[in-house]
């Protein structure tokens, strides 16, 4: 298949979003090759802790081994092939298969085979790697964010992330104690549409005024004097912010793009204007804790970063201001799961974490007055792209107006550019050509 024909400088072919055959190729050439986000180390703090997820539709387990190391293994018994670990997360002494009771260590080593008599003439015995739960080829982490690759070769995680590590730094540096942890449960949803749509949407400054018109207007008309325990404060403020005037998106918001398809929307969020934080006594406590831990100058520097969503292609999108992370898992060419995680800043007042939860309810919950209009849009794109009247989808806005940034990436003319989409398709073409 000639994938080159499907991507042009300012538009892409609809098959990229709805052809099952192309999706199969993506699983092989992108999801089985790229560094895929697996989880955060705080999800498995102690030996025996595990968290189950998937890579390229294949179940894997991230687990803390007895030596403290983070392991990622395929969730498949070395004996008859059953999925071994079944709860999504938990803690265990060993992994024991439900079928015949084979037992494994957290790194997948086969520990015990019940009724070993009869295996004497075979190679089946504890420790034999051919009968273990196989480790995935490569695992690496950056500041607690664990990634895995199903390909034994390719760029290192550091090379792959490149300058976008600064967005992960932005997440972690905001913790007075220098560490963040996953907390507060998982907000899940499923939409009927291709996996690329959510990445394209999350850094699309052009859509909120139109897609979110109903929640913007509802929030603008909200009487501020009505009782709120905090939920409405955060929620209404965010909905109103989606309705920022065009001049704001054109003059104050920027978009940056980097190799391997990564990008972020920047200069959108401003603690002074948007978060209850600055006027809130708990923010003063947070500020003090930050200054005590990091000094005045460094604190200013850290809190001066005003990035909104960062996309690490092709698996996560996250933002530091409200400490949210979305994991995007393709199910099929037109079905996608999204898992929303919250992070707690260690050393920060607990009130800030409550604001994190409130924000997640508004942006990531399946019944959110904001998200539901995005999901409807994805579904309509899926329907619209079945038509044969036009094979092409535009990504032309801001074309030819990008500047090279100091880190070797591209800086769009403004936050209304579709640079991030063109950038993802440049990466896509690279993966698919290999």
């Amino acid at each position: 298949m000639d994938f080159d024909q499907l991507v042009q400088p300012e538009r892409v072919h609809r098959r990229v979003y709805n052809d099952p055959e192309i999706f199969e190729h993506e699983l092989q050439k992108i999801f089985s090759v790229a560094w895929i986000y697996v989880g955060h180390v705080s999800q498995i703090p102690d030996p025996g802790d595990f968290y189950c997820t998937e890579i390229a539709l294949q179940p894997v387990v991230m687990a803390r081994h007895s030596d403290g190391a983070v392991k990622v293994i395929y969730n498949r018994c070395g004996h008859r092939g059953a999925q071994v670990v079944s709860p999504e997360s938990g803690s265990a002494e060993t992994f024991r298969c439900c079928y015949h009771g084979w037992e494994y260590a957290m790194d997948g080593t086969l520990l015990a085979v019940p009724q070993p008599r009869g295996y004497e003439e075979s190679n089946v015995r504890p420790g034999d790697s051919a009968y273990g739960m196989s480790p995935v080829p490569r695992v690496a982490e950056y500041r607690g964010f664990v990634f895995a690759s199903l390909s034994p070769t390719g760029p290192t995680l550091q090379e792959y992330l490149g300058p976008i590590t600064s967005s992960i730094d932005d997440m972690v540096d905001r913790a007075p104690d220098g560490e963040i942890e996953v907390a507060g449960g998982i907000a899940r949803h499923l939409y009927h549409g291709n996996w690329k749509l959510v990445f394209e949407n999350l850094c699309d400054g052009l859509h909120p005024n139109c897609v979110h018109q109903s929640s913007i207007e509802a929030a603008q008309q909200q009487n501020d004097a009505v009782f709120s325990d905090g939920a409405g404060e955060i929620g209404v403020r965010q909905m109103r912010q989606n309705g920022a005037p065009w001049e704001f998106w054109e003059n104050q918001v920027g978009s940056w793009a980097y190799p391997f398809g990564h990008s972020y929307l920047g200069d959108y969020h401003d603690d002074a204007k948007l978060v209850a934080a600055r006027n809130d006594p708990s923010f003063a406590d947070y500020f003090k804790a930050m200054e005590a831990a990091k000094g005045k100058e460094r604190t200013q520097e850290i809190l001066g970063v005003t990035r909104w969503n960062t996309n690490i292609y092709p698996t996560i999108s996250f933002m530091s201001q409200f400490r949210q992370l979305r994991v995007i898992r393709p199910v099929s060419v037109d079905k996608t799961e999204v898992l929303g995680f919250c992070f707690r800043l260690k050393g920060a007042p607990e009130k800030m974490f409550h604001d994190t939860i409130r924000f997640a309810n508004i942006t990531n919950a399946v019944a959110s007055p904001v998200l539901t209009d995005d999901l409807e849009t994805y579904s309509r794109i899926r329907r619209g792209l079945t038509t044969e009247g036009n094979d092409w989808i535009a990504m032309a806005r801001g074309l030819g107006r990008d500047a090279v940034d100091a880190d070797g990436g591209l800086c769009a003319e403004n936050g209304l550019s579709e640079l991030h989409i063109r950038n993802m398709f440049e990466a896509w073409s690279g993966y698919m050509a290999a």
Partner: protein, 163 residues
């Protein structure tokens, strides 16, 4: 005493059935008016979730957010409700668990099944509802409403219907 309880249960049932009717008939402003000035509406994600502050929820609305949610449902530019869903719900198994000695509030649980149809799709929701009801002259005021969906921890598609 038994007669009094039977009488109360009847009133509560009538109230819950009326509430269900308001939602199925999309009389959202009327539904909103059932809530007290600091009432809340909560659909947790985790089955045993004990509060809406430390864990994400499918919905957690204080009075302010609830007003905004309802106002959005009445907005003609709500894409997720274009076309709007039609719903039909059955409420039953109503139990009065407790009358709070201090506040006088009724602690009530019930079960529901709700069929939703929108566009090309029909969905079935089911679960239990917990109401905290304050008796007033005209009936009851909702101080709090918690809905436990049986599949709250599952992979759900967007929900605009009020449960």
């Amino acid at each position: 005493m038994a007669n009094q309880i039977d009488h109360d249960i009847r009133l509560i049932e009538r109230f819950l059935f009326d509430e269900a009717g308001m939602l199925d008939e999309r009389r959202f402003d009327e539904w909103l008016s059932l809530f007290s000035d600091n009432g809340w509406y909560w659909v947790p994600i985790e089955a045993d979730q004990d509060n809406p502050f430390d864990t994400v929820s499918i919905i957690y609305d204080d009075r302010k957010l609830l007003e905004t949610r309802v106002r959005r449902l009445n907005n003609t530019n709500i894409h997720a409700e274009s076309p709007p869903p039609r719903t039909s719900r059955i409420v039953g198994n109503v139990v009065l668990h407790n009358v709070d000695q201090t506040s006088g509030n009724y602690d009530v649980s019930s079960r529901f099944q709700l069929v939703e149809f929108r566009g090309e799709k029909q969905r079935l929701f089911a679960g239990s509802t917990h109401h905290i009801l304050r008796p007033v002259e005209t009936g009851f005021v909702i101080e709090g409403k918690r809905v436990n969906l049986v599949n709250s921890e599952g992979m759900l598609e967007g929900i605009t219907t009020i449960l």
